[in-house]
């Protein structure tokens, strides 16, 4: 059958099914195919907190969304154009998000009475007209897969489990994706089980052929590659990018990387990733708890390694006391907080930005710590390097904030040339620095206020440090009131001085006359930028800036804020950056806050900003 081919600029597809249906894998493969094809893209996985919630239930639904385009993509997309629902639960949980008139591909085999009842469908939505506003493609995915695999030496269950490959084949055909990558992937994955490999390859090809032969799909779509700067690219998620960034930073510092960590969702994958790379000299230590994880990392830093710990919000709560020790010891340490929904256990698999005040202020006494936040999955790489720069240059713990959305979401990443990455020069103290030949562990660099990093094994620099207040210079225990006041201020000043080494806050205001600034931090970058782009296309003028450094702020931040009539700060919390900005700059920033465990949609942001711009214009 000859099909028509249609060019599209962008498509958002969401795959939804049971936790056991392999939606994450299917989505990953489709993403990889699109990446290799050269589309720009962004992905959003979404899965339940349970390992395998009961099959066919709403809480058991696992979904994966991918947005791919022939141009710069900023978010995984607000509303899918296409929903692939592997069962009634997948349909029910996701239909409301679909764009009106979008395509729905369903596995009709799963729309049994029992399955419908499990999710509270009283009648079959495939028949009762509730899908009238959509293009529905009814495909008997399961039985078609089983039929295609007849004769294979596998069980029926195994055959059924290949239906995700059938679906992937169909989608790959529909969107004209290259298939070599997926076939190679399957070959590697099932190298040890040839019968399963065969089944998956067969199902994948059957899906492709089904598309070609069925009449249900009359049009093939193409999405051209997006123009991208020259370079070698790969698709990467935030956790992997963070792990790679830490490795690159250690290499640039010339230090071994030591990770002390305790598993916690959604940060565990950083531990998993780093533990694979022993050949790079990376040591990973899965500790008995978060306190021991950060303790070991601090010990490693003291011993001359780049000490890192990774965790999420509840883990930060536990590490707090040790981070306070690191502040007063003035040793490098990187603490990565992959934020998730809180408070307490909260929504462990969902995203949120509500740890900012915790990492800023959650320590006893005056214990300032620099804070950085990544804006996109690939940006986690760069932020890790910046964190290492600050930690080693200023001898201070540094927080890196990412979140569940960045951790698992992915986008194309231009692979850096290692030698072009910032050179991080680390020098250990090797000689006594005192007037009388003694070593003064708290004698500071006049510029950075950093103290010497004198690692054990260095003769002549034997010294003792600890958590009790120290005399500046000698580092000896000191209860002197004036010294304490001085030290509290020096530690604060040291962190403030970091601002001298960071770039100014950049504002994007292409029209040059915006009166409203939208200022974000962290993973809201994508939706905010997309919203601004859409608004500008509409002719609504709005300026955008995004903070990577949250402590200290770039030196021009106050000046930037003062240039606008209104500053809107969207956050996935109740206004934590707002609080910091208001306190520091006395600017009446207006928060736009949603705490739903999900990223913002660019639409809701655009809607809000449009109103604000109107208000300001009217005022």
């Amino acid at each position: 059958m000859l099909k028509q081919t249609q060019q599209l600029h962008r498509v958002v597809i969401r795959l939804a099914g049971d936790s056991g249906d392999g939606m994450q894998l299917t989505g990953d493969r489709f993403t990889a195919e699109s990446a290799v094809l050269g589309n720009d893209l962004s992905t959003l996985p979404n899965y339940p907190a349970e390992i395998r919630a009961p099959a066919g239930t709403l809480p058991g639904v696992s979904s994966f969304q991918v947005h791919f385009a022939d141009h710069d993509v900023l978010t995984p997309g607000d509303a899918p154009d296409v929903l692939v629902a592997m069962n009634p639960a997948g349909l029910k949980a996701n239909l409301r998000d679909l764009r009106h008139g979008g395509d729905v591909i369903v596995d009709t085999d799963e729309f049994t009475k029992r399955n419908l009842a499990r999710v509270g469908y009283e009648t079959n939505p495939l028949e009762d007209g509730s899908l009238d506003g959509y293009q529905v493609h009814k495909v008997a995915l399961t039985s078609l897969t089983v039929a295609a695999l007849e004769g294979h030496e596998i069980t029926k269950k195994e055959a059924e489990r290949a239906k995700n490959m059938f679906a992937l084949g169909l989608l790959s055909w529909l969107y004209s994706r290259p298939v070599e990558g997926t076939e190679a992937f399957l070959r590697a994955k099932f190298a040890a089980r040839p019968e399963i490999l065969d089944a998956n390859l067969t199902a994948f090809r059957a899906g492709w052929s089904y598309g070609e032969t069925t009449e249900d799909f009359a049009v093939i779509y193409q999405v051209q590659p997006a123009p991208m700067p020259p370079g070698t690219y790969r698709n990467i998620n935030g956790n992997t990018a963070l792990a790679y960034g830490l490795m690159a930073a250690a290499a640039r510092c010339g230090l071994p990387l030591f990770l002390g960590s305790y598993p916690i969702t959604p940060a565990s994958d950083v531990l998993h990733e780093l533990s694979k790379h022993k050949r790079f000299g990376v040591l990973t230590f899965q500790a008995e708890d978060e306190i021991a994880g950060v303790g070991a990392a601090l010990g490693a830093s003291y011993a001359g390694a780049l000490g890192v710990t990774t965790t999420s919000g509840p883990g930060v709560a536990l590490k707090t006391e040790t981070i306070g020790l690191a502040v007063t010891l003035e040793l490098p340490l990187i603490i990565c907080d992959v934020q998730r929904g809180g408070p307490s256990t909260g929504l462990p698999t969902k995203t949120e930005q509500a740890d900012l005040l915790q990492v800023m202020y959650g320590r006893n006494g005056e214990a300032p710590v620099p804070v950085l936040a990544a804006r996109s999955p690939a940006d986690c790489f760069d932020v890790a390097i910046e964190a290492a720069r600050i930690a080693t240059a200023y001898r201070t713990p540094v927080f890196v904030l990412t979140d569940g959305y960045l951790a698992n979401g992915s986008e194309p990443w231009r692979i850096p040339v290692i030698e072009e990455l910032p050179a991080l020069q680390v020098s250990f103290a090797t000689e006594p620095n005192g007037a009388n030949g003694e070593f003064l562990p708290y004698l500071r660099d006049p510029q950075t206020l950093a103290r010497p990093w004198a690692v054990p094994g260095t003769p002549g620099l034997e010294h003792r440090i600890g958590g009790i207040e120290k005399a500046d210079g000698s580092g000896n225990i000191s209860y002197d009131p004036a010294n304490h006041d001085h030290m509290v201020r020096v530690r604060a000043e040291k962190v403030e001085r970091i601002a001298e080494s960071i770039p100014p806050l950049e504002v994007a205001d292409p029209d040059g006359d915006a009166r409203v600034l939208v200022l974000g931090w962290g993973s809201t970058y994508g939706p905010i930028a997309a919203a601004c782009r859409n608004l500008r296309e509409e002719g609504v003028h709005v300026a955008q800036a995004h903070l990577r450094h949250l402590n200290p702020f770039p030196s021009n931040t106050g000046e930037v804020l003062s240039r606008y009539d209104r500053v809107v700060v969207p956050e996935m919390n109740l206004g934590q950056l707002s609080l910091m900005l208001r306190a520091r700059y006395l600017v009446d920033v207006a928060g736009f806050n949603r705490v739903r465990g999900l990223p913002f949609t660019s639409t809701e942001l655009a809607d809000h900003l449009r109103t604000v711009v109107k208000e300001v214009a009217g005022a």
Binding site: A188, L283, A303, G304, I415, I418, P456, E462, H463
Partner: protein, 362 residues
């Protein structure tokens, strides 16, 4: 890290706890004063900590290690002030967390001799879990637990080793908890080296320190330490000339376990229950005694010995209870790195980053 001239292994010491730690050159031996820092010692007059400090300062030179390759890490408590007084590298950290910090140091640096100094509250109250995990991992560190059976620094609350019924500021009607037996706890945590010593017995303490330093892996040394201010005389039965011979059981590897005047008591086994029982040597003959074997792989033996301690402080074995070989976490971790590097070659970041699914835009 820094240039090593003569390492312990080159010196023929073999894979001991000090393997890999550089030694001072021949002809430059260090002395006690080299290990004495310029800080004024600030314990109460008569505190047992002084005796332990003196013993450690005198003993350290014997190891022949370079001073700069020794690190003492402590938690919080009176005893945890220890590192300030030693002219080595040192960190006075936070309450209970020294084993975790020391683990990071030891795993990162095979060329350091890493010591943990901790108290009964620091180690067994807030820090109990870190101690237990360091022991089961067999991290190559030496843990000195100063057990004065009281919280000294916070002025005298009962600790997890205080005898039940103890009247303190926080337990005016007597404490209710059964204390930990630190030796039993360590053995229950899969420790490979467990010993006990007394602050006031320099010779015995030094012998135990020597064995602990020599052991590769986590060495756990409980040191009974007198706190004259808040728990004075807690260990007097082991110190007083009137009672000590009857109470203190000195464990010596390969020797029958005997104590009392002229070694008249001995340790035997009840033939039916298998339980350790005290016997009169005159009655049963020396052959019937248990011969101490600290290399016994089965921890049940050392555990049974640990139960001989009668609370609050009566008959008490001191010396090395257990000393068995098991690979250390840190050695194995570094071996995994070395193995990965030798089989897969050193990593190439560019190749790693590119992964399997990369594409190029020109």
């Amino acid at each position: 890290m820094t240039g090593t001239t003569i390492s312990a292994v080159e010196a023929g010491l073999g894979p001991s706890g000090l393997y890999g730690v550089p030694l001072v050159g021949e002809g430059h031996p260090l002395g006690k004063k080299d290990f004495t820092s310029d800080q004024e010692v600030r314990w109460c007059p008569g505190c047992g900590d002084y005796a332990v400090l003196a013993a450690v300062q005198s003993f350290l030179p014997e190891l022949g290690l370079r001073r700069e390759n020794i690190v003492f890490v402590s938690g919080i408590g009176c005893s945890s002030r220890f590192p300030y007084y030693l002219d080595t590298y040192g960190m006075h950290s936070i309450h209970g967390r020294a084993p975790a910090i020391a683990s990071g140091i030891a795993v990162s640096r095979p060329d350091l001799s890493v010591w943990v100094v901790t108290g009964d509250g620091d180690a067994l109250s807030i820090g109990g879990n870190h101690i237990a995990h360091a022991l089961r991992r067999n991290i190559n560190i030496t843990i000195l637990l100063f057990n004065n059976r009281i919280y000294g620094l916070t002025k005298g609350q009962y600790s997890p080793t205080s005898e039940a019924g103890k009247i303190t500021k926080s337990t005016p009607m007597g404490s209710l908890d059964t204390p930990f037996n630190p030796v039993s706890f360590a053995i229950g945590s899969e420790a490979t080296f467990v010993a006990r010593a007394l602050d006031s017995d320099r010779k015995q303490l030094t012998a135990v320190l020597r064995a602990a330093a020599e052991h590769r892996g986590a060495s756990f040394v409980e040191i009974y330490q007198n706190c004259p201010i808040f728990n004075d005389g807690a260990f007097d039965p082991l110190k007083s000339p009137d009672t000590r011979d009857e109470q203190m059981i000195r464990l010596e590897h390969g020797q029958p376990i005997r104590w009392g005047e002229q070694g008249r008591h001995g340790l035997g086994r009840d033939p039916r229950s298998g339980q350790l029982v005290s016997v009169e040597v005159a009655d049963v003959g020396e052959e019937a005694l248990v011969v101490h074997d600290d290399h016994n792989e089965d921890p049940a033996y050392a555990f049974a010995l640990s139960r001989l301690s009668d609370p609050p402080i009566g008959r008490t074995p001191v010396g090395v209870f257990r000393s068995v070989r098991r690979p250390t976490y840190d050695d194995m971790a570094r071996e995994q790195v070395a193995h990965a590097q030798s089989t897969q070659g050193p990593g190439d970041l560019a190749q790693l980053f590119a992964g399997k699914d990369s594409w190029t835009v020109d």
